[in-house]
């Protein structure tokens, strides 16, 4: 083992493992990736990870939904020089965070019956609500090219760069017909961070906002467009909450 390779850990809290699977889906790059980094801990792909060594980079997927998740995240934070949240669950709670103000214990009981009362089950929290997060890669799941780009950036000591414009911009560059303006369908494009090359609209399917909001979302003007197309404000809010809290502007100076 070369001691000089940067050490990396890849972790999952409560999620669907999709972001870790994107990493395993880098079929063409995986073997060369492990030539340049030392993957110390990747439970989904390897047994016997070591739990204590320092990590140059820790990638963490999923939301904090158990006390165990929270303790695990704190242990990862203590080991990691750079902690990178990967995927919308880690960034903002993701799909399990869609319900605003739902009484979680009674919802757990609803699904699991009275046995649910003793579960270690908490409402979803984003990583930054529990520990300090250094960088974030959005997406549900993350995009391969953004992950590989982020690894290269971090190894070179640069912060990963993300687009700061909306899916609509990519959509227009691809010259897709507008599903919202032309057809009145509910498309999250105006409020959602680009980076997926407007994947859904390019299939004539509205964006559901899986990458989370642009840094400076204009909720007011988007609301006007949606209501002018006949969507009720309640429906707009419910739909915009699919992947977590309503889009709010990110405070200036916060990472990516």
């Amino acid at each position: 083992m070369q001691a000089t390779k940067p050490t990396v850990g890849i972790f999952g809290l409560t999620g669907c493992a999709g972001d870790q699977l994107v990493i395993l889906n880098c079929e063409d790059e995986l073997l060369s990736l492990v030539d340049v980094v030392d993957i110390r801990d990747f439970l989904m792909a390897a047994s016997g990870g070591d739990e204590f060594s320092t990590l140059d980079i820790a990638f963490v997927e999923g939301a904090v939904m158990t006390r165990r998740d929270e303790e695990k995240l704190q242990r990862i934070r203590r080991r990691a020089k750079a902690l990178v949240a990967i995927g919308t669950c880690a960034l903002q709670g993701g799909v399990p965070a869609m319900a605003d103000g739902l009484d979680w214990p009674s919802a757990v009981r609803d699904v699991y019956g009275p046995e649910g009362d003793g579960f270690d089950a908490l409402p979803a929290r984003a990583l930054h609500e529990c520990v300090e997060v250094d960088f974030s890669l959005p997406g549900c799941p993350i995009e391969k090219h953004e992950f590989l780009g982020a690894v290269a950036d971090l190894l070179n000591g640069n912060p990963p760069q993300l687009p700061t414009y909306a899916v609509c911009t990519e959509c227009k560059m691809r010259e897709c017909d507008c599903l919202l303006v032309d057809q009145g369908r509910f498309c999250h494009g105006p409020l959602t961070r680009a980076g997926c090359r407007a994947r859904c609209p390019s299939y004539a399917v509205p964006c559901v906002g899986c990458r989370g909001p642009v840094p400076d979302p204009n909720l007011g003007s988007a609301m006007d467009v949606y209501t002018s197309k006949g969507w009720s404000p309640e429906e707009v809010v419910q739909r915009l909450r699919t992947f977590g809290p309503l889009p709010t502007p990110v405070p200036a100076g916060e990472a990516a």
């Binding site: 669907c16 079929e27 989904m44 869609m98 699991y112 649910g116 859904c200 299939y203």
Partner: protein, 437 residues
């Protein structure tokens, strides 16, 4: 003297789970497959959401099975709303499920299960001396992902399959590229067979097993069956899919407060090995010859054979996918565009074969086309009781072994089931308070 064998956190599986077994001398006192995932409650959270929002939300139950979750969801919605899809749409969906199965099996066989047989902690470590095998696994995995990308628009959480059809059918160029890739995939799958045949034998259980799979005998299908078949000791019972609850009749078991799926008081196994037991008549000649090379005897009494059954499905799916792609190349794909939807109240149930086995989605919609009730039962939840049954058998047979050897056997059995723990939304488990070690 009692002893406890624990696998705190099972590696090389999807999601978070553990194993706890207690023995009193050589007698097995208890076996637990513990799920330590948080409860994401997606079937609760979709309530009041409209029909077009459901599949993108529930696909997030699990990434590795996201195409199956998405398509099962669409079918349940279509059944509830009385929507008929075109035969071409069904063909494209069939192809998508085969792509997912190829990807999932290649991932499981080469990256998750094989390192156990060859004594490596991971495929990455295994690549040192077995680089060709790992590269082969990655190639097959990429083939499955390529199919899913072409059909679904993304390998994980597909976007292109919608209620009533597809946003955009694949282009001729994409289909030609798939045809080429599948043609090379056939020889890769045969090389994969040689690799699997070369692995050391893993024979820790020998017990009668009940199998359940969607009945589609004529073409080894993963969707559109009308019955589930349950097979045990040469007998077969058929359950109409709308009566799925009689199969997945979940009950609380005293040692764990958990829900277990039992049929006729027996645990049952779902997945590739179960599909072979139920639909083996639909195999191609090449798949039959792979079965002979792997010396896979049916019905199997050894859950480790699931790894071999997945290898059989690899070649089968690649061949059948190739046939579908060739058909699609001479088909007009325009009837895959979804027709306008008229909401109505109703209930719909769909059952498919996800890579890990039977998957059920059942929804009730209100008159506005919003979800009133959603029920999702996943293969890993169904398999939990059977997995414990096989743990019990393996520990009973291996009681004289030391802890490390037993632990390894338990882990290998768990992995052979290829559990998808994020999927086991119905299976959160608390240890019996009095037994907490």
């Amino acid at each position: 003297m009692t002893r406890t064998i624990r696998v705190e956190h099972l590696a090389r599986v999807e999601g978070h789970g553990g194993i706890t077994v207690t023995l009193d001398g050589e007698r097995v006192e208890s076996v637990h497959f513990d799920v330590i995932e948080g409860a994401r409650l997606l079937e609760r959270l979709v309530r009041s959401r409209r029909y077009d929002e459901i599949a993108p939300i529930v696909s997030r139950i699990c990434a590795i099975c996201s195409a199956a979750h998405s398509l099962t969801s669409l079918q349940a919605t279509e059944a509830a709303l009385g929507i008929e899809v075109s035969p071409t749409t069904r063909l494209l969906r069939d192809l998508m499920l085969r792509g997912e199965n190829i990807e999932s099996h290649a991932l499981h066989i080469f990256l998750l299960a094989a390192p156990d047989y060859l004594d490596y902690p991971s495929a990455i470590a295994m690549a040192g001396r077995h680089r060709d095998a790992v590269a082969l696994g990655l190639r097959l995995k990429r083939l499955g992902n390529m199919i899913q990308e072409v059909l679904g628009g993304r390998a994980i959480h597909p976007v292109n399959a919608v209620v009533g059809g597809f946003g955009h059918p694949p282009s001729t160029e994409e289909l030609v590229a798939l045809e080429d890739a599948l043609e090379s995939g056939v020889s890769d799958a045969l090389t994969a067979t040689e690799f699997v045949a070369s692995l050391p034998t893993a024979d820790f259980c020998d017990t009668e097993t009940t199998f359940a799979a969607l009945e589609t005998p004529e073409r080894y299908g993963y969707a559109d069956g009308k019955h589930i078949t349950v097979r045990r000791s040469g007998t077969a019972q058929r359950i109409p899919i709308a009566d799925y609850r009689s199969l997945t009749n979940e009950r609380v078991v005293p040692h764990s407060h958990a829900k277990h799926s039992l049929y006729d008081e027996q645990p049952f196994m779902v997945g590739a090995l179960a599909r072979l037991a139920v639909n083996g008549g639909g195999l191609t000649e090449a798949a039959r010859s792979v079965m002979r090379t792997l010396e896979l005897q049916l019905p199997s009494r050894n859950p480790m054979d699931n790894n071999k059954a997945q290898t059989v499905e690899l070649i089968l799916d690649i061949e059948l996918a190739l046939g579908i792609v060739r058909r699609l190349l001479s088909t007009d794909l325009h009837d895959t565009a979804p027709a306008p939807i008229v909401p109505r109240a109703g209930t719909g149930t769909a059952v498919t074969e996800a890579p890990r086995g039977l998957l059920v989605h059942s929804y009730t919609y209100d008159a506005d086309g919003r979800i009133a009730r959603a029920d999702v039962i996943t293969p890993t939840a169904m398999n939990a009781a059977s997995l414990e049954h096989h743990f019990q058998d393996a520990v009973t047979r291996g009681a004289a072994l030391d802890d490390a050897a037993l632990r390894k056997r338990l882990e290998m059995i768990a992995r052979a089931y290829d559990p998808c723990i994020s999927c086991s939304v119905h299976l959160i488990r608390r240890r019996f308070e009095g037994r907490r070690p």
